[in-house]
Symmetry: C2
Subunit: 215 residues, 2 copies
C-alpha cells in the first residue's frame, strides 16, 4: 500500500544545489539534490555560467530578417572558431546579455557589432526588433543555459552597401548573408567543408524545409 502511494506522481522539487569547488572562473559544476515524481531523492549534475544577469537569462541568438526590394528575404550567419568545439562553427549572431540589458537591446547591440546592420540602438537605423521569443533552454539535460531567440527586421534600400562589422580587438567573426530559402543547403555545404553547425540555425533551416514539404 505504501509502495503504491509512493509511486503516485507528485511535483518534482529541488532540495539543494551544491557547487563543486574548482579554480574555473566562467563556468561551474553543481550537484542538484532533488526529489522526483515518486518522492525519491536523486542527484543530477549540471554545468552553469558563474555569472548570469539578475533577470535570469544568459544570452540571445539573433534571427535577422533582411528585407531588400529586389532580393529574397535573407538572414545572417556567422563563422566563428569555438574552442569548446575545436573547430569553426556556423551560428546565428549571438551574445551574452549584459547586466541591466533587456534581450531586445542585447540583440540590436550584438547584431550591429557582429554584422554592422542597424545602429545598435532601438529607434535608430534600419533594424528593429520584431519578436523576442519565450525563454528557451539550450541543453537541459546538462546545463542551465538559456536564451531568447530575437527576430530583427532590417529594411534595406536597393543600393545599400554591405555595412562593416564593428568587431572588438581579438574578435574574429566572418559574416555571410544567406537567403532563407538557401539556408538549409548552405549549412550542408559548410558541413561538407568541415565546419560544425550550431543546432539552433540547423533547426530553423529544418523547419523551413518541413514547411515547404508539408504545408
Amino acid at each position: 500500500m505504501s509502495n503504491n502511494a509512493q509511486t503516485q506522481a507528485q511535483e518534482p522539487q529541488i532540495l539543494k544545489v551544491e557547487e563543486y569547488k574548482t579554480d574555473a572562473k566562467w563556468l561551474k559544476l553543481e550537484n542538484i539534490r532533488w526529489k522526483d515524481q515518486e518522492g525519491k531523492e536523486r542527484n543530477w549534475e549540471v554545468a552553469n555560467r558563474t555569472k548570469r544577469p539578475k533577470a535570469g537569462v544568459d544570452s540571445v541568438h539573433i534571427l535577422a530578417l533582411l528585407h531588400h526590394p529586389s532580393k529574397p528575404v535573407s538572414t545572417i550567419i556567422i563563422e566563428q572558431y569555438r574552442p569548446p568545439a575545436g573547430v569553426t562553427v556556423i551560428e546565428l549572431p549571438a551574445g551574452l546579455i549584459d547586466e541591466g540589458e533587456d534581450a531586445a537591446t542585447t540583440a540590436l547591440r550584438e547584431l550591429h557589432e557582429e554584422t554592422g546592420y542597424g545602429s545598435g540602438k532601438a529607434g535608430e537605423g534600419n533594424a528593429s526588433v520584431k519578436e523576442v521569443s519565450d525563454i528557451l533552454v539550450k541543453d537541459p539535460g546538462m546545463s542551465g543555459a538559456n536564451m531568447h531567440l530575437v527576430s530583427v527586421d532590417v529594411k534595406l534600400g536597393e543600393d545599400d552597401p554591405e555595412p562593416e562589422q564593428k568587431l572588438e580587438p581579438g574578435e574574429h567573426i566572418i559574416k555571410r548573408v544567406v537567403a532563407l530559402k538557401d539556408l538549409h543547403s548552405t549549412l550542408k555545404d559548410y558541413s561538407k567543408k568541415g565546419f560544425a553547425i550550431d543546432a539552433l540555425v540547423a533547426s530553423i533551416a529544418q523547419g523551413w524545409e518541413l514547411s515547404k514539404q508539408f504545408v
Copy 2:
C-alpha cells in the same frame, strides 16, 4: 613589421586541455589553452560529459514525422522535468548514443521507449529513419555537447491506436502528438503555462513559420 605579421589571420589551434579536478561523475570542466587567429595564446573554459562514445557524438534528437491517411503531418513532443532547468521542459524525444550504436539505431530505440512508436529496431514496425543530420553542436561557447537531429518517418493506418510508451522505472515522460502546423502555437501555450521550451524544437517551429510567411 613583426606586429603586422602577428595580426595576420592564421588557423586557431588547441594547445592543451586540462581538467579541473572535482568529484563529479557525469560532467567535467576543462580549461582549453589555445592559440587564436593572431597567434596569441588564450584560455577558454568548457563543460563536457565525462563519457562520450568513441564515435564522438553524444546524443540524438528525434524529429518524428507521423504520416496518417486523414490527418496533417504531425510530430511528437515530450514533457520532461529537467533538474538543470528546475522545471518541466518541452523537447523532442532524445537520448544519449550508447557505445557502439549509430545515430539511427539510437533514434529508433529512444523513439520506441519514449513514445511507443516503431519497434525500436531498423526494418521492423512502422518507423524508418529518413535522414540523419550532420553533426550539430548544442552550445559551442560553453560546452562540447554535440548531436544528430534524426528525422524518422512513421506510417500510420487510419485506425491505429496510440501506442504505449516503454518507459524504464524512474522515467517520467509525457508524450504529445502535435500537427507540425500547430507546433509554434502549441509551444507558445506551453510557455504561458510555465513550461520551459527547448531551443531546438522552438527553432524548428520558427523555421516552419518563416517559410509560411516568406516562401
